[in-house]
Each structure stands twice: as C-alpha cells, then as structure tokens.
Amino acid sequence: MSAELESRPARRRTGDAIIDMEGVHVAYDRRTILNGIDLKVYQGETLVILGGSGSGKSTLLRVLIGALEPTLGQVRLFGQDIYEVPEADLNALRLRFGILFQSGALYNSMPVGENIAILIREHLKLGDDIIRIMVKMKLELVGLRDFEFLMPSQLSGGMKKRVGLARALALDPEIIFYDEPGAGLDPITAGVIDKLIMDLSRKLGVTSVVVTHEMESAFRIADRMVMLYEGRIVAQGTPEEFRRTANPLVKQFVNGEPDGPIPLRRSKVDYEEDLLA
C-alpha cells in the first residue's frame, strides 16, 4: 500500500546495511506481535521507527538489541546473526552498540559517574585517571558534569535519561538505539537530546535507530522513517515523503487525527452485541 514510498532510496545511504532483519516474526502465546519484518539500517543514517502503542515497536527494538529471540527470521548486526553467534562473540558485538532505555535504566546501586565508569573499566583496559576523565567528558556531553557523585535516585526523570545517554555513549558505539528518547521530558530537554542524536550522526557518523511516536522530534532527526502498524511495516521513506504521503495510515498517524483507518477501539465484538450479551 506504500509502493511509492518504498521504491525511493534513502537520502543518506552511505554504505552497507549494518543492521539487517529478515522475515522476523514474534509471537507470544499465539498472539502475533511482529509479522514478517524486513528492515535494513545503513551506516551513518538515523532511522526512526514510528508506530502507535501496541504496534510492536518496543518488541522490534528488543529483537534488535538481542534481548528477545524472534520466533522466526534472522537479525544480523555488523553481518553477524546475533541469535546464532556464541556468547563471547555476542558480547563483543554488544560493545559496538549502545542503548538509551526509556527511563534511563541506570544501575541504581551505583553513583552516576560509576554508571559510566563501570563500562569503561570492565571493557577497556584503562587506568583510573583516564577513566575519570572519560566519565567527565561523557557527562559533559549531556550537561551533567557536576552530578557525577549523586545517586540515580537523586536525579529527576529527565536527568536520568541524560545520564542514560551518556552511558550509552561510554564505549563510543557505532550504533545507538533510542527507546522513546523524548518521552517524559520537557520540551527543552527533549530538544537537547534530539540535537545530540543529530550531532552524533552528523559529526561522528554514529548510526541511530530511534523508536518514537513523537512526530515533531521524528521529523527533526530522521534521515529515513518506517512506520509499524499491527506488527508490519506499512510505510517507509524520507521525512519529506512521510509529510506528503497519500497513505491514509501514515497520514492519520503523522497528523494525529482521531478518525481514520487506525481505530481507537480495539474490540472485535460489536458494541451493542457486547452490551446485550
């Protein structure tokens, strides 16, 4: 239904696909969450995955980061199937991507600085002095250099998220996955995070995969967008194409219209029948 979108090449395709999903199905007790997803992400681009709640976008992200083995299909990161490689190789792959979790997911038993330092200390053989400097640099990126010694429980939600981002950047990953980066943030902080995502991509060539349903931010950061609906990719293209699309699903979602092909009500039984049953 979106042939005109899919046929166009992405704007910033600069190399091979470093993420390659093929025929991914996920089902929990007979309920299909993802239904045949084929998705490629190219080096250096920022891909935004759009979708309403329940569209399967969080599940898709979990499959991508190696946390949920799909019922069917393959997921290759940097050319290696992450559900087939041995544990040691998977761990090596894991160092090449970072994740910003929805609520930060900081290690609550450690101070902010240690949240970042632990990754560097465990994975790179560096001296304490260098680690200290690196931690400060990462925190400076998100503007929280003074908060190194606070515990996560002492931070606000937005600050936790920024520390989460600093932690995702700790090992200078090649890919960063963002799970709803703007959710629960004030407009300024959300803007700052958007700018960071763009800077990382433009200046450092970091590949970004962003799961979100916030259109404003999506249009700001995306090189390419895909939209999920009921476990399928129903459209993909550039932000410009999404803005001008004739696809009623995309149009309704982008403009946030209450009426359209995407129903608010999810019941299969007729309302009247249900009441009188």
């Binding site: 946390a67 991507f97 609550n108």
Partner: protein, 272 residues
C-alpha cells in the same frame, strides 16, 4: 466409571505437569548455581572479570549485622521454649537435667541452622527477589546484559558469595544463643548449676554435630539466595510481578529448605 477415569486422567496430567514444573525449576536453580560458581572460581582466573567483593560486603552486612537482632531474639526464645517443653516431659521421669543435652544437640544439629534459614527467607530471600525483580522491571538487568556485563556476575555472585561466607557464622552464633536460652531455663527455673549445664552440653556434643549443622546452614543459605535471584529474574509485569516474586521467593525457599533438611538429616543419620 467414565467420570472416574477422567478425573484420574486429569489428576495424572496435573501431577505430571507439576512434576515437570518442579524439575524445570530445580534445573534452573542448578544452572544458576553452576553459573555463579563459574564466575566465582574459573571466570576470574580466565581474566573474565574479578569477583566483586565490595558489592558482596553490602550483602554480608545485611545478612549478618543487621539480621543479628532478630536472629538472637528468635533463637533465644526458641531455646527457652524448647527447654521448657522438654522439662515438661522430663519432669515426670525426674531427669530435667537432660534438657542441657537435648537443647545442645537439637540447637546445633537442627534448630540453629533451620531457624536462621527461616529468618533469612524473609530477611534475605524476599529482599533479593524484590531487588532483582525491580531491576528487571526498570530494565536495569537488560541494561547490564546488553552492555556485556553478565547479570549473574554482577547480581547473583555478590549475593550468593555473601551468604556462603556469612551463613555458617550466623548459624554458629545463633546456635550459641539458642543454647543460652536453654541455659537460662536450666539456671533460673530448674535450679541447675551453670557449670553442670555447660558440662552436660559439651559432653553430649561431638564435632560431627557442629559440622553437620554448619553444612546445613551453608546449603540453606545458598538455596535461599539462589531462589531469591531466580524469582527476581523471572519477574514479568510491573509492581504486581515483583510482589508475586517476593511471595514466591519466601514460600519456595521455605519448602526447599525443609525438603533439603529432611534429606540431609536422613543422610547424616544413616551415613555419618
């Protein structure tokens, strides 16, 4: 008789399913334990990362110093109760002095480790399940895993190691306190001399009694910590899931401890 056959089949199915569930659970516990042991022993040697002792100290403090008050209270009172109940029976035979022997042996071989374990299911098992469960819910465990920091090494090893080190010590102290409870009854209520009570206790105890008690304490501690961790990792859903895990951790620890106690007591009785 068709109904009867159907009920029988249902019962058989149910029993089968539960047995399989039990086997799977035991298997998961065993795997978790071997994984934790690997990270304690082989892992550090292979340069896969040191054992995080400083994390372990936090847990050691919780299950030793901070639990000591309640452990002492419970054990002292149970010592008193045990001695009084024994005296009630032994009085009719005119041999109340034997409460020293009985309390000593019962505390050392059984009551000390068992009661400490019961206190620990609440003090440690539930706490571990709630902690790890909350970490699962807040995606902290996922964040560890995806950062190639194995959750077993960072979460399970410090807790299991802490119990392995601390449980025998706590159990030993608890046993002393329990015996002290019996001594209080003997000295204050039955008019036994202090030296006599102590002598009778020491006479009736062998190293084997102490040793088997310590083995039990160690095993109980490991079981409780592992079940707490496993329940925590298995949390799904939000706060409700954490609550369920906490309850499960306590209930399953109690059952596991009692079953292990039965088996080991029988083993020690016949083979040691």
């Amino acid at each position: 008789m068709l109904g009867g056959a159907r009920i029988f089949r249902r019962a058989l199915q149910e029993t089968g399913a539960r047995s399989l569930g039990f086997l799977a659970y035991t298997g998961s516990l065993f795997l978790l334990f071997t994984d934790a042991l690997w990270w304690m022993t082989v892992g550090p040697w292979k340069g896969k990362g040191r054992v995080r002792l400083d994390d372990s100290f936090v847990h050691m403090e919780r299950i030793s110093i901070r639990s000591m008050g309640i452990v002492a209270l419970v054990l002292f009172f149970v010592g008193v109760i045990l001695a009084l109940q024994m005296a009630y029976v032994l009085r009719t035979l005119g041999v109340t002095d034997y409460i020293a022997n009985i309390t000593g042996v019962a505390m050392t071989r059984e009551m000390g480790p068992l009661l400490v374990a019961m206190v620990m299911t609440g003090f440690m098992g539930a706490a571990i399940a709630a902690e790890i469960g909350t970490m699962v819910v807040s995606e902290e465990v996922l964040a560890l895993e995806t950062a190639a920091l194995p959750p077993v090494r960072f979460l399970v090893v410090p807790r299991v190691l802490a119990t392995m080190i601390v449980m025998p010590c706590v159990s030993l102290i608890a046993t002393y306190i329990g015996i002290l409870g019996g001594l209080a009854v003997g000295y204050f209520l039955l008019g036994m001399e202090f030296e006599k009570y102590v002598r009778r206790t020491l006479e009736s105890l062998t190293y084997k009694d102490v040793f088997t008690g310590l083995i039990k304490a160690e095993a109980f501690g490991i079981l409780i910590a592992l079940i707490g961790c496993l329940e925590g990792f298995q949390v799904t859903g939000g706060a409700e899931g954490v609550g369920r895990a906490t309850t499960n951790a306590v209930v399953r620890s109690v059952v596991a401890v009692i079953v292990f106690d039965l088996v080991s007591t029988a083993f020690f009785y016949y083979f040691l």
